[in-house]
Assembly symmetry: C2
Homo-oligomer: 718 residues x 2
């Protein structure tokens, strides 16, 4: 038997194990495949020419557009001094992370997005790619860096003008001035437009008076606020000449050289959180704090000395969304970080699952490798498929982000598409990361609960990714509204009958733009016919039609119900919309999943190595059919699938998972994390070593002739 | 408007708000219901005689059979000195928990199950009820207490004989001897029968030699092992006269008076875990450690001075399961603790959701209470229904446990039923708790992530409940095997045709016994007929038939596939079984859910207050129909529901949730937790106070005439 202990680290050279594999796996199908020999050309039942994954080229594909930046970042995240130490006190953890931020500032890792003339590279996509990777070292370091350079610094960059860049960015980049991003208030998280803090222009002194009018308007959950923040970008209602011009951003000094709050400024420490305790989150409040007029970050709105307000964007609504839109990179980077954490978790759990043995189901002496159990495969391999989908979708998302922020493709429509893409993908990937970290933790049993094996710490840290930078449910509702708007544009003058009869047109290219509905070339109701064989499920067109049809069908159904809303009083219209809220959010989720599936499919198309392409095709099919299986009732109720074909989906998924099982280790190895990144003893090969030692012990004992007789066989002998 | 700030704590007297409620809620259905007035007789759309929950009597019903014990325990868990302090270092937390255990020992809280002659009460059910409540104060205290008295002490009690009771129990009860329960090994968690530690009888010295033969046989994850344990019950393969008699338990002294390990004994600290860091989990290993022959806990197996083995149970297999079966109370108590944590989480999240406001969907000034959003309701109210179901099921489970352990109903069949019940319910409730804690945390946004609001700490602690005391997936597989066995007994001599034609007989009374299949009086396929109106879904018989039919249908389908297994070689038979593993585990889950539904239905039947009974009926229907909705595809594929009725289920669920919304606060208040238990600032009424202050501020500003004009209206005026 070829033992996995021979390859204790996932990246080590792999022995060719063809013979052992063929002799073991040919006998009784997937359930009997030997998992310890999952890298050679394994015979899969019924397929004597099973493919082989080229880990090196797949690794390169997963790294995506900014592969070199990621590889450089991974050198950084492999450094012990940049990594989390489990069990530090909150104070020690905060201090350590602050020191790590100094390293990030010193080596320029976090400066790529800043202007070239200030030492940056005007490289927005690369900046995010490098930033995302930091999650592997310590999510606290990542997010505290995100607060400093991605929120505080980016607000000065995107909402300020050159005078602000020159005055503030150098010290922000160098971390000489750590700063907070003071947007959220205790009373208003998702609804930023309703924040209570005011900045009232005083024409006499040419100052803004920043003020917190009541307790609910305290700024809340701000990184850098409790300890390190010397300044902040404060969001407040800009009031001048008796008019409230809505939310604007102001640069406000918080603390003096001794670290004490300046007069009129107060705050509290948020204290212990569920995770990310290397970040000093806190609250801030302002009692008529006066700041110079010039401290208004005035790219999208300015106040002249005499108090006259002006803005390049006439509509207050559009202005607000444009200002907030410049901060989309938070969502981009959380999407990427969530994918990275999911990939890491699956690398650990699948490596362990391929070595750990428990119960002797099919043998008298050899225990089964737990990844050979169907349930264990069902727990991990579909999540691997989703992680691949999210990975490929994220890279396209990042390319789109880069195009907008570099100015290459920066129309209003581009920005709106980017916003929609962010709102669709960030919820899916962050929830997926939590789900995957938890399933991986449980799949490793008690060992998964020990902090040193990484799952619990990462899960605790990533928990808040689901609600910060946009609450996931609120974001999906934004997507749904966009889908409804796109839909209703098609039918602005159509009567309800025309609406119901409408057959969607295919526009799959729009998926790449990350927004809009996908339309079918045919009436998807035909799919339910028994004429098509089960083989149709493998057809990419069929998968696309089914996935697209569900998004469109759900949006169409909601739109039909909502049609009378425009004629109703506001309260009733809101109640009507509310009656569809859950379905709309589910439709938005389906839209995001479709975007992931499309990205995955393009990645499959771009794969040149035949074996890798075959395995990726199975994995993409598993992802796509998994989505359909999850929503099978919808397809049945709406006549998109016959009962017969619906049932075939589950059995085909079982087959796909069994086919993918021998490639599971290659598929996680392709994420490219070394032992220095995994840092999980259970994924180090130690489990296989222990198993081997135990097996040797029993083999020697049997050979010695001194092994105790089992009571059962003893009875029989007697 | 009646403001929720008037009732800052859930248990305070409630104002009658009929008028305000009626005037607000009568207009536009559920979406417009005013959540701040959710306790008076609110007009629900279409139902002018909406019922009222009697919180006091419902509270009493939820407390269950050992209500007085629970109430006494809640006095204890309300004491600050017994509660967790967030953010303690691992060392400080361990020290604090150990001190709390001394209080539990001193006041006898944890002694109820021990013999009366030693100061206990022989009260097994009450003991567990009181123990479960401790989770509210600190799960570390609960589980460390569970290790000491529920595992270490219970092993001596149930596996030892009077000499052991007299010798060891007094010091165990008083905590003079803290001890570990050394069963699990690094190499074997779920498969206890395969542990590697040996206890070999030496007839010369009349001693057992306890030995760890290899690294994978180190005892692992043992509470009390790293720091406090002076002794342990060690599970090892008993070998005498060259025969291995299987796993037995031995009392082994670990440390001397100075706290140092005795010769031959070694160990390690497990260090930081994902939660439960008040417990000193660790590893132990033994190098030919000699213990007296009498240290074998010899109730189910003994070794005479000359080395002769004897046992009252002839079959080694039955003996093993009998021994392990005495330790079922761990699963019982985790089930109850998980229900308590879910109830606490929902009390906090629903209280906050009824006060927190965000977005002005249906009004120009007043923001909506977030629990009025359909999505928010969908997130919390079905989980409330599940928590009720789990609560009622747990009490029946505890009654069954008490009957077995008190000897009132202690046949082999009773013990097997109890095992099956434990294996079915513990996975469901522990997963539900994790899911609920997470959803509640997200539903409270950033505030949910702050440690002081309880969710994150409880979730971190309860994480491991899913894999200890029996891995949830492994437990469900045990249930599935039992269901298969029961099923095949029916068809021992039937041909496959008879099997397929079989129409199940109803035996709902068996549900109460917590095991066995539920059989229908009619062919459930008829249910799909359109003849039955949508109203049929409210029919308890219909719900029961649908839920029962799915369990039976899934088991029957798997049994048909598995039928050839008995004729196959062992390896192929295992592969065949493996091919059904996922479906079997899902069938076991469905069986557990059915048990919860049956228990909930009995609780509804036992409710005498009409209003409470009505609301509970809706809640039970929501639970039952929610289960059906979750598995709708199965019902459609198998012809149990027509597409039309399947669709009706979702819309009826929407209606039920809207009906339950006004009662949500009453339903969580009925769990009976005071502010001293909740200890969550966001559930204290502080949010409503802040909202009120903000509203007053804006109202006064408008009244003053000095409010800034909104830019949009300013434009219009110009």
């Amino acid at each position: 038997m070829v033992d996995t202990a021979q390859r204790p680290t996932p990246r080590s050279p792999k022995p060719n194990t063809t013979d052992a594999a063929a002799s073991k796996s040919g006998s009784s199908g997937a359930a009997a495949l030997d998992p310890s020999v999952n890298t050679g050309p394994i015979k899969v039942a019924g397929d004597p020419t099973a493919p082989h994954v080229n880990v090196e080229s797949l690794s390169r594909a997963l790294l995506g557009t900014w592969a070199d930046v990621r590889l450089a970042a991974r050198e950084l995240t492999a450094r012990p001094d940049m990594q989390r130490i489990e069990g530090l006190s909150m104070e020690d953890h905060r201090a350590r992370v602050f020191e790590q931020l100094k390293v990030l500032a010193a080596n320029g890792h976090v400066h790529r997005a800043f202007p070239t003339y200030l030492g940056g590279h005007d490289d927005h996509g690369g900046n995010i790619a490098g930033f995302e990777e930091l999650v592997i070292a310590d999510p606290s370091m990542q997010i505290k860096g995100g607060v400093q350079w991605g929120l505080f610094g980016a607000a000065v960059l995107h909402l300020g003008t050159k005078k602000h860049h020159d005055a503030y960015l150098p010290d922000i980049m160098s971390l000489a001035v750590p700063g907070a991003f003071a947007m959220t208030e205790i009373g208003h998280g998702s609804d930023v437009a309703s924040i209570g803090t005011t900045a009232t222009y005083d024409v006499e002194t040419e100052e803004f008076v920043v003020h917190t009018p009541f307790r609910a308007a305290w700024k809340e959950y701000l990184g850098n606020a409790a300890r390190d923040g010397i300044a902040a970008v404060v969001f407040a209602q800009l009031i001048t000449q008796g008019v409230n011009h809505g939310v604007h951003a102001f640069y406000v000094q918080l603390r003096d050289a001794t670290g004490a709050f300046l007069p009129g400024i107060g705050g509290e420490d948020d204290g212990l959180k569920g995770g990310l305790n290397g970040i000093d989150n806190g609250r801030l409040h302002f009692d008529n704090v006066r700041i110079p007029r010039e401290n208004l970050l005035n790219r999208y709105g300015d106040v002249a000395e005499d108090g006259t307000y002006s803005s390049p964007i006439a509509s207050p609504g559009r202005r607000f969304f444009t200002m907030l839109g410049t901060l989309v990179q938070g969502r981009v980077s959380l999407d990427g970080a969530a994918v990275a954490a999911s990939a890491l978790a699956l690398t650990i759990a699948i490596t362990y699952g391929g070595q750990r043995r428990q119960f002797t189901a099919g043998s008298d002496t050899d225990e089964e490798v737990i990844l050979d159990y169907q349930r264990h495969q069902r727990r991990l391999i579909p999540r691997l498929a989703t992680t691949y989908a999210a990975n490929f979708a994220h890279d396209e998302f990042l390319v789109k982000f880069d195009a907008v922020f570099s100015g290459k493709a920066d129309t209003d429509a581009d920005r709106q598409d980017l916003e929609t893409l962010a709102a669709a993908l960030k919820p899916l990937s962050t929830w997926h990361a939590l789900d995957t970290l938890q399933e991986a933790r449980e799949a490793c049993g008690g060992a998964g609960f020990i902090a040193e094996n990484r799952f619990v710490g990462l899960r605790a840290d990533l928990d808040v990714y689901a609600t910060f930078e946009g609450d996931n449910n609120v974001l999906l509702q934004l997507v749904a509204k966009r889908l409804l708007t796109d839909y209703s544009k098609q039918f602005a003058k159509a009567d309800p009958g025309a609406l119901a009869r409408y057959v969607f047109k295919q526009a799959t290219d729009r998926a790449y733009n990350g927004s809009g509905l996908h339309r079918l070339t045919q009436n998807v109701a035909d799919l339910g016919s028994t004429a098509r064989s089960i083989g149709a499920l493998r057809d990419i067109t069929v998968q696309r039609e089914l996935l697209t049809g569900r998004v469109e069908g759900m949006i169409a159904a909601a739109a039909t119900v909502l049609r009378p809303a425009s004629k109703l009083p506001k309260k009733q219209a809101a109640a009507l919309f509310n009656s569809q809220q859950n379905q709309l959010i589910e439709a938005a989720r389906a839209h995001g999943e479709l975007l992931q599936w499309e990205a995955f499919s393009r990645a499959v198309d771009a794969t040149t190595d035949a074996g890798t392409a075959q395995v990726l095709t199975w994995l993409r099919d598993l992802f796509g059919l998994g989505l359909i299986e999850k929503n099978l009732a919808w397809y049945l109720i709406n006549g998109r699938l016959s009962a017969q074909r619906a049932q075939a989906i589950t059995s085909y998924i079982d087959r796909l998972i069994a086919r993918l099982r021998p490639h599971a280790q290659d598929l996680v190895d392709s994420f490219g994390y070394s032992q220095a990144h995994l840092r999980a003893p259970i994924a180090s090969g130690i489990e296989a070593e222990r198993q081997a030692e135990a097996r040797d012990y029993y083999a020697n004992l049997r050979a010695s002739g001194e092994a105790p007789v089992d009571e059962k066989s003893h009875h029989k002998k007697k």
